[in-house]
């Protein structure tokens, strides 16, 4: 198979684009595509300060690499979740993120959940009803809260995450199966800034996960290959596998699914329920918006942890 640009040996074939490229042209094509997406959705400009949520995985590190190659001002934020599970998952992810930042002369901010809030993600999950079976939902709440807090407190204009097309299509698939209208309404490449919430963007949302992987490999980016031990067997991975089966038979299906959803949303297919929007109010503790009256779920979880730690210390 030959590179469409130069006729050299192709190293990546993208059936959905009917496009095969050599290493050199693929490594030019990915940033060019990302730049197009940034401009198309008005994500940010070169004058704005970007905070990239960096997990140590291929997607977030590739995003950070692409943004710095494109000349954007992007710092990284690594959140230490305290997940060990016998493979030092968090410690290894942090090492990789720190090495990447050092090698590229980039600024990485590190926040460790245990140090900041007195308990790791598995410990918080253990103490709360929500996460007892599986800590993923607790992890999601904590990460969203922390990313938003750091972005606002440190004066970043925008928070960027490494979500790729497969992430977006599988989330969309799950939300469609359950007709989760509120989630469908909020899913998109850009979540505009609202009182208490920083603008959030997903510059890789139109790149297949496989393309991001190829980019990471070809750029020689070291990333954590092991799956988060708690994500093994997760529903999102199951949906990705199902979508890949369809993609295999109908190349382009995942991209069409996502883009037609964005078109439908733009055309008003998912109506805004204004009374629900009006019910959002700031948490009295952290000021981030919450749907239920009183403290937000993050602050309630942390309160519980603080109380448990206090009782434990008292009984010693």
């Amino acid at each position: 198979m030959k590179c469409r640009s130069c006729g050299g040996k192709a190293v990546v074939n993208m059936r959905h684009h009917k496009l095969a490229l050599c290493k050199e042209h693929f490594l030019e094509w990915i940033p060019a595509q990302t730049e197009r997406v940034i401009e198309k959705y008005g994500m940010f400009t070169r004058r704005e300060k970007i905070l990239v949520a960096v997990s140590g995985g291929k997607d977030s590190l590739s995003l950070w690499d692409i943004l710095q190659r494109l000349g954007y001002q992007a710092d990284g934020l690594y959140i230490g979740l305290g997940i060990d599970e016998g493979i030092s998952y968090s410690a290894e992810s942090q090492r990789i993120a720190e090495n990447f930042a050092a090698a590229h002369g980039l600024k990485l901010r590190v926040l460790e959940i245990q140090r900041e809030y007195g308990a790791s993600i598995p410990q918080i999950a253990q103490e709360t009803h929500r996460g007892r079976d599986k800590p993923c939902s607790v992890c999601g709440i904590v990460k969203r809260h922390v990313m938003n807090r750091i972005a606002r407190d440190l004066g970043y204009d925008v928070l960027a995450t490494g979500h790729n097309l497969d992430d977006e299509a599988s989330t969309l698939f799950g939300n469609t199966l359950s007709w989760s209208g509120e989630y469908l309404l909020r899913q998109g490449p850009v979540l505009p800034e609202t009182p208490g919430l920083a603008r959030k963007v997903k510059p890789l949302c139109r790149l297949y996960e496989r393309e991001v992987l190829a980019y990471a490999l070809l750029r020689g980016i070291e990333y954590i290959y092991d799956e988060c031990p708690f994500a093994v067997g997760s529903t999102s991975i199951y949906y990705k596998e199902l979508l890949n089966k369809m993609e295999n038979d109908r190349p382009g299906m995942k991209l069409a699914f996502y883009l037609s959803f964005l078109d439908a949303r733009r055309n008003g297919f998912f109506a805004e329920r204004t009374h629900l929007q009006a019910e959002l109010h700031p948490c009295p503790n952290c000021r981030q918006p919450t749907s239920a009256p009183g403290k937000c779920s993050f602050c309630r979880m942390i309160e519980r942890i603080t109380e448990t730690n206090f009782q434990r210390d008292e009984s010693r």
């Binding site: 190293v11 291929k58 070809l218 988060c228 991975i237």
Partner: protein, 63 residues
Amino acid sequence: MVKLILRKQEYEVRPGMSLRDALKKLGILPEGIIATRDGELIVEDEILKDGDEIILVMAISGG
């Protein structure tokens, strides 16, 4: 023979097959992986040679 490795699982196919046919025979979807040989990325029409060791890198991650 040709050895293909996905995570810690090893598979063998006969030489002379294309990567596409090898993956089909093993029931592995090309959409979910990138194949490498000696550290270089290869595409589906690559003919696999005797003694090749193909590392299949999983693309899917999530939680």
